[in-house]
Symmetry: C2
């Protein structure tokens, strides 16, 4: 096991009818800006629940944060924060709203220059606006971590930052809020959580059996509960299990003391930035290709995955069979596993590799995936 630090102070409030607690969780004297997305919270009752809980407290609102939250949009919320002296942000929605809110929290206090530097230069203000979250879409794990991924439309960039200042002070997860998600949102969420686990698991063994089994626990839960959620959208326990699994997929626990990959995410972000595919759609396409390309380096973990997750007992081709079973699982959820199915060809593969190289990205748990290797992986996605 490698040395590590683990610190995660998010208060998780989980279960039915928990949204009204938001009122007690935000100190009375705070000036609160509620952030949200395209307005689904107005259909599913969440907006009303929050308005009721926060009645008489002068709650401000900023809606319209899009999937792949855009710098251009978020900077408008930053203006509101500065003008209204907002000192608490309440993110209501999925991971995109929350990631965007984390950026707003940092940017509102950033006076050094263009807040985009938070993403490009690892810059940070001295403090961030404190924030809390009501989560309505299990997927990104953002509710229990200090990461965020932000896009900039003008430059077609999609970049990530991490800062302990943006740990939510609390995250409220009521699985009933997920009953009305679209099938596309549900399967994207399953795929996103699955890929998060894999970025921390599918590397090379470092004798960390607890972390391995904790990762496998999440994978097995996603595989069992995912199809059930699509079939019976109002099965509470199933939704609760998916929601809690997605949180664990990226709350840092399974990353303790083990190497991490993240090549799939880095390449996937480029595809989203250039072609507009959903984040999860890119992961499902790229992940198997990374495994195929890195079959030697990941051999031991691929075999363990084959045996423990898919119960594959037969001899030589465990790794290949496990990759195929993974693709079949995603196809069974209704997802595409090839870029060609999205009408994407090899035309911009070199450009993607160059964009990554320009930023100095060395992908994979060994930092060996650069340049030509990126193009090779992308070709395996066709």
């Amino acid at each position: 096991m490698q040395n590590f630090e683990y610190y995660n102070p998010v208060r998780m409030v989980f279960g039915r009818q928990t949204i009204p607690k938001v009122s007690d969780l935000i100190p009375r004297e705070r000036k609160v800006l509620m952030t949200y997305g395209g307005g689904s919270i107005k259909q599913n009752g969440v907006y009303d629940q929050i308005q009721q809980a926060m009645a008489g407290r002068g709650l401000l609102e900023f809606g319209g944060i899009e999937p792949n939250p855009a710098y251009e949009t978020l900077m408008k919320a930053v203006e509101v924060c500065r003008k209204e002296k907002v000192d608490f942000l309440l993110s209501v929605g999925g991971g995109s709203v929350l990631d965007g809110t984390k950026f707003i929290a940092m940017a509102a206090h950033y006076s050094g220059g263009d807040p985009w530097e938070i993403l490009t230069k690892n810059a940070a203000p001295e403090r961030a606006v404190p924030l809390g979250c009501v989560l309505t879409l299990p997927a990104t794990g953002s509710e229990m971590n200090c990461f965020a991924v932000i896009s900039r439309q003008a430059t077609q960039e999609k970049l990530a930052f991490a800062n302990p200042m943006v740990y939510p002070q609390f995250s409220i997860l009521d699985p009933e809020t997920t009953f009305t998600l679209s099938e596309r949102q549900v399967r994207n969420g399953i795929a996103d959580a699955f890929a998060h686990v894999m970025e921390q698991y599918m590397t090379y063994p470092v004798n960390a059996p607890l972390q391995d089994r904790q990762a496998e626990a999440i994978l097995l839960t996603l595989i069992e509960e995912g199809p059930k959620a699509l079939k019976n959208p109002r099965d509470y326990d199933c939704r609760a299990n998916l929601m809690w699994a997605a949180t664990h997929a990226l709350n840092g626990m399974i990353a303790c003391g083990v190497p991490q990959d993240w090549a799939t995410h880095m390449i996937g972000h480029e595809i989203t930035a250039l072609y507009g595919l959903d984040h999860a759609q890119t992961l499902v396409v790229v992940m198997p290709a990374v495994w195929k390309h890195q079959k030697q380096a990941k051999a031991a973990k691929l075999v363990q995955y084959a045996e423990r997750i898919w119960g594959i007992k037969d001899g030589g081709e465990k790794a290949a069979t496990a990759i195929r079973r993974t693709e079949e699982f995603f196809r069974s959820l209704g997802m595409k596993t090839r870029l060609s199915e999205y009408g994407i060809g090899a035309e911009r593969f070199e450009e993607i590799a160059e964009r990554l190289e320009r930023r100095g990205a060395k992908l994979g748990e060994q930092g060996t995936i650069v340049g030509k290797a990126v193009v090779e992986i992308l070709k395996l996605c066709l």
Copy 2:
């Protein structure tokens, strides 16, 4: 799954050569009292490492905290805290030192009356002395929770309290500090962690597959790594795996949304209080007896445990076989599984049941283990 809240702000610092970080983790201006136990830290080099890291900072010391930390001893440390205006406690040792330090942290600011009320009346001061921990014995999980168990010699009582104010601000875990533990300490630690998992797992199913598998992940790690640690005391990875598993056994994660038992601990505490057995020795004796007595109520989880942990596939007697395999596992570590092996008979069983009843204790996940049932369980321990 049941509703729950999870909050755990402890900063875990894990790995080789991490003890010197203590200096950065405690703010410079603090007046620090280091607490420790019988002096093993002076043999294993930990004391020296801390003295070196904290050189020139006027570190105060309070040694001699015993296993089953005693109110009588701890109150002497409370006097030191008050007199010297200590504003940071550094616990160096195992769970007993840390539990004792948590009590000191509370009692030093308790002005309502006898600090023993913290245990008997759930009383609490307005604030506690902040504390940090250097852990040298994996067992209790105290390094990543806000629980403590304290004994009072005068009344032969052993009681627990919980308060978020006593979460350690940090816990440093260097597995190398465990190389020199005695065999008895190692096997007690394995048993303690095993029992902690079981109190949160061996109840009834609530459709919480992730939590179940997270619990099973810890059990499998303890079963695999425990015997190795006894055989090769200087196997770093093995020690690291045991240490991290013991932390997870009681950091609250596997308790999320599931029922909890704790009958084994409650009965075990009485046996320690009256007969002086090691805490873990009592758990190994009582736990199988609780399962035998509660075989109907725990039937579904006993079968799941049999299948997933011990790979028992045969028909009708899975539960009984799993209980036997558990006892065999502890015997293989060199532990006794019967009270009679310790020369203890049934003489005080009624007294134990009465002591628990007087405190209003309703044991087990359903609160149904009281009076006669306690005596019946104790008879199954003979």
